[in-house]
């Protein structure tokens, strides 16, 4: 039994189709991150799961129960919002117990749950304050607490950390991971921060235009992106793309005067494709002084950007701009002629016509 199961979900606002025949199965206790550019429908999908939007078509099952038409409070979900959405005139305790009071739980039970949640989140001393007297990080903790006390199986997060500053964000990120390890609930988490996605997720769903492009473990998404969009979206700095063609029955990739040996590529049948694209991550390239035929691309160093431990070097290869990540002590001088060594096992090949990974 899946914890959450979305079947053929379509959602329209007027005539605009925001989610298109979307399917998603989430396992018990899984941490799923929905990642994608602004406007791709992440929040919309989450709101559908929460019952805050009416589907145009399709079904939603939570814990095996068809909740397509159920009220938000009947679905066994808790939700945390980007803007915290705390009730400003209630104390922290009031915020956390509001839903429980409406559900008609006995006072003792409410107090017990609030105490347990506030102990987990370390907000005990704040219980009698109003949200206005809390910092952003504290507010988000309270918002998480409000979801926690519901003692539900599925938590929905809509960019919960994006209103916080960088330091607090990384702190709370670790805390969320700890929370998930402790509670083992199913979590569905929307973000457009790649780092959050890569660090938190058991599986990432990359979305674009209301369609899930790829649903896989973070490492798979990173190393074997299913299509050009995913490849370009994940990774910062972005993957280097070079247009060319595959020749010799799929044994070599040719562009300009360069020809790369494709032996060792991990993927499907390459074949001869007149329009192909090779994707190389900056950290999967290295700089060497001597050319190795079939394995290197000649390039000229333009500028470099030292970033602490690493340096990002920008080069011109065959008139194309490329970036390479090197240890900061190996920074080359601008104008230097170098050769970029390609690790073909970590490269990605795409067919330009359908943009899918080969």
């Amino acid at each position: 039994m899946h914890s959450v199961s979305v079947k053929n979900l379509t959602l329209k606002f007027g005539s605009a189709e925001v989610l298109k025949n979307l399917n998603l199965d989430v396992e018990e206790g899984e941490f799923i991150v929905l990642l994608g550019p602004s406007g791709c429908g992440k929040s919309t999908l989450l709101n559908c799961l929460a019952g805050l939007l009416e589907l145009t078509e399709g079904q939603i099952h939570i814990k095996g129960k068809n909740v397509t038409w159920a009220e938000p409070s009947e679905r066994g979900i808790g939700m945390v919002f980007q803007s915290y959405a705390l009730y400003p005139q209630m104390t922290v305790r009031g915020n956390m117990s509001f839903g429980l009071k409406i559900a008609g739980l006995p006072k003792a039970e409410i107090a017990k749950r609030v105490d347990r949640a506030s102990e987990i989140l370390q907000i005990g001393p704040l219980l009698d304050r109003k949200p206005g007297a809390l910092s952003g990080g504290q507010r988000q903790r309270v918002a998480i607490g409000r979801a926690l006390v519901r003692e539900v199986d599925v938590f929905l997060f809509d960019e919960p950390l994006s209103n916080l500053d960088a330091k607090l964000r990384s702190e709370l990120r670790v805390e969320l991971k700890r929370l998930h390890n402790r509670l083992k609930n199913t979590m569905i988490y929307v973000t457009h921060d790649q780092i959050e996605a890569l660090t938190l997720a058991d599986r990432i769903a990359i979305m674009r235009g209301g369609i899930i492009q790829q649903l896989d473990a973070p490492q798979t998404i990173y190393n074997r992106p299913a299509n050009l969009f995913v490849a370009g979206f994940i990774g910062s700095p972005a993957m280097n793309f070079i247009k060319g063609e595959t020749v010799d029955g799929g044994k070599r990739f040719k562009f300009g005067d360069v020809s790369l040996d494709l032996a060792g590529y991990e993927g499907g049948a390459i074949l001869d494709r007149p329009k192909a694209i090779i994707g190389l991550r900056p950290e999967h390239l290295s700089m060497v002084d001597e050319a190795i035929p079939g394995h290197t691309i000649p390039a000229v160093v333009e500028i470099d950007e030292p970033m602490g431990a690493d340096s990002l070097v920008w080069l011109l290869a065959e008139g194309r701009q490329m970036s390479v990540r090197v240890p900061v002590e190996h920074r080359p001088a601008p104008g230097k002629q170098v050769h970029l060594k390609v690790d073909i096992a970590k490269a990605s090949l795409f067919d330009e016509t359908n943009e899918l990974r080969i």
């Binding site: 979900i77 939700m79 959405a85 400003p88």
Partner: protein, 299 residues
């Protein structure tokens, strides 16, 4: 010694001249406006405190040496409004009887309608909103006669319920817009959070939104109370002579032709009539501005 050059130079905030040209202009305009509005009030107050001989003999601008509240007493208790000589207090209580229910009913209906439109969109709610918007531009004079017929058919013409009904109806378009815009400007996620918590239509309204909406309720109360209190026309038309509001009674006092003009009584009666809206503005001006600003942010 090393500090000397530092200490010698300017430090701290840059001093600003007290009167800059901009300020001079602003203050001049404000003072002129204040005089323009306060001067009549001044004349009214000093005249109401004079006795009739002083008014006939003295200068209208000069305050009296022997202030007396006789005129006020007379205006309140025994001035003649047409046939009866019971003072303006009758009108005062009539105005209260008209204003209080009209204000309460119109605000309850408008806040719930605005809340529904902002947060519980129903079929055609946008159409409804447009109609509402347009209807607040229709000159109300157009609707006076139809409403006379309607209230007559309902059998309430020339009664208190008729005038309350009319005031309520005319208050609704503007108030509903006001509430709709205010509720639409509250964070949507708050509404969603309350839904997830299991709160329904009434619980969200009373427990989540209403406590956050004191400014807009204040604005609505001020708008309605002052508007209805100052109304003359609907009072004359729909209320019937026994229920004439204070404004109508005031008019009758001032126009009643019995003996010489008792300017002091007229002035006192006028001030008494204006006291309620004046007091309301005085005590809630701060909330009024705050509420208007809050409602205006988003639409």
């Amino acid at each position: 010694m090393a500090n000397t050059p530092l200490a010698a130079g300017p430090s701290g905030a840059k001093p600003k001249p007290f009167i800059t040209p901009q300020r001079a202009v602003v203050y001049t305009v404000l003072i002129v406006c204040a005089i323009f509005f306060l001067f009549p009030l001044y004349i009214m107050v000093i005249t109401s405190l004079k006795n009739i001989q002083e008014i006939q003999s003295g200068n209208i601008f000069i305050p009296t040496m022997h202030p007396t509240f006789d005129a006020w007493e007379k205006a309140w208790n025994s001035a003649c409004t047409g046939l009866y000589c019971e003072g303006i207090k009758v009108g005062f209580w009539n105005s209260i009887k008209i204003t209080v229910p009209s204000t309460i009913v119109s605000i309850i209906v408008a806040s719930l309608t605005g809340y529904s439109m902002a947060n519980w969109p129903f079929k055609f709610s946008e159409v409804f909103f447009t109609i509402l918007l347009l209807s607040s531009f229709i000159p109300y004079v157009v609707m006076i006669y139809p409403l006379v017929i309607i209230t007559r058919e309902l059998g309430i013409y020339s009664t208190l319920p008729a005038v309350v009904l009319v005031h309520t109806i005319f208050g609704l378009p503007l108030l509903t817009l006001l509430f709709r815009n205010y509720f639409a400007s509250l964070p949507q996620e708050l509404f969603k959070a309350a839904r997830v918590d299991g709160a329904g239509y009434w619980q969200i309204f009373f427990q989540v939104f209403a406590p956050m909406s004191v400014p807009i309720f204040t604005v609505a109360v001020i708008l309605q109370v002052t508007g209805i209190w100052n109304d003359f026309l609907f009072g004359v038309i729909y209320a019937g002579p026994t229920n004439y509001p204070m404004t109508v009674q005031l008019n009758n006092i001032v126009n009643s032709a019995q003996g010489g003009k008792a300017y002091n009584v007229d002035m006192a009666a006028t001030i008494l009539t204006g006291l309620v809206p004046l007091a309301i503005y005085f005590f809630s001006g701060k909330y009024f501005v705050r509420g208007i600003a809050a409602g205006a942010v988003k639409g």
